[in-house]
Amino acid sequence: MKNLKYLILGILFGFILTKTEVISWFRIQEMFRFQSFHMFGVIGSAVLVGVVSLQIMKTMNMLSSSGEEIKIKGKKLNSGTAMGGFIFGLGWAITGACPGPVFALIGNGHLAFVIVLLSAIVGTWIYGALEEKLPH
């Protein structure tokens, strides 16, 4: 099954997110109150490692495992980037979870996050329905 590798990487990601307590509502509240370095250290060092590895991959012209040229599709900037970002931030602070952690929390047995997930799917659908009417 060609998707098995993504399952394994997902398991790894969920495991790391849990062990680092990124999925904890308490940690997210602590972050937004600037009362610990933990989350800033996590995000900062993750971005640092991401930046350095992408630079290495680009300078070495590294190919993917199947020999393809590595392509990164950029995301466009528009007013939705800031507006949507702000709305997501509101939700992030009260659920204490961004989408990745929502899945990890469900796996951790916090079934209340099934409600959060379903509601997030509804939110996604409503956005899709309103997309053409919203300012971008």
Binding site: F15, G50, I115
Partner: protein, 184 residues
């Protein structure tokens, strides 16, 4: 093994999260991202002839498998050890959260808020339903979440991801410092 017993410090977990970026690119030329999986679920289950959902979601099955893996990864930590220990948050945060009525600091999340039985209260609807809605709506409007913008996008020096990340934080700060205090 100590690595599997307790939580990890930021300098172990953070760099490992960052490594997901080159790993996904190398393994299948894929960009790290989680919130778009919610769009694929909509496109697969209730497209309702909405243009935003009119695409071949089957091209993104990898992403759905990836988020399924995230859930399994969470379950795996549970199998390897208990996760109901109290998170080592600062005393200052505990004091602030006590003012919001939180008294149980055990586990990853406060069960006082995040439990199915809280769905009979406005608090439960606010934190779980409204919170979840804003996650789904906001991430699609911004075209990404903390994974796709903050980790993947910033790693790629993408300006839109910086704007999105600043937006995430302004939203989070506004909720934490302006709106949450009004709730109690």
């Amino acid at each position: 093994m100590e690595l599997f017993d307790g939580p990890w410090p930021w300098y172990i977990g953070g760099p490992l999260i960052g490594l997901m970026v080159p790993l996904l690119l190398y393994v299948g030329n894929k960009q790290l991202g989680v919130s778009s999986s919610l769009r694929h679920v909509c496109a697969a289950c209730v497209p309702a002839k909405i243009p935003f959902f009119a695409y071949n979601w089957k091209d993104y099955i990898w992403n759905l498998v990836f988020v399924l893996g995230i859930g399994l990864g969470g379950y795996l930590t549970l199998l390897l050890g208990p996760n109901d220990y109290a998170i080592g948050i600062s005393e200052a945060t505990k004091a602030d959260l006590s003012l919001l009525g939180i008294s149980d600091f055990s586990g990853m999340v406060p069960d006082q808020i995040f439990s199915i039985s809280m769905m009979s209260t406005s608090t439960g609807w606010f934190f779980m339903v409204l919170g979840g809605f804003m996650i789904g709506f906001g991430t699609r409007y911004a075209d990404g979440c903390t994974s796709g913008h903050t980790i993947m996008g910033l790693s790629n020096w993408q300006f839109s991801s910086l704007v999105a990340t600043i937006g995430f934080f302004i939203g989070g700060l506004a909720m934490t410092h302006c709106i949450l205090p009004l709730m109690y």
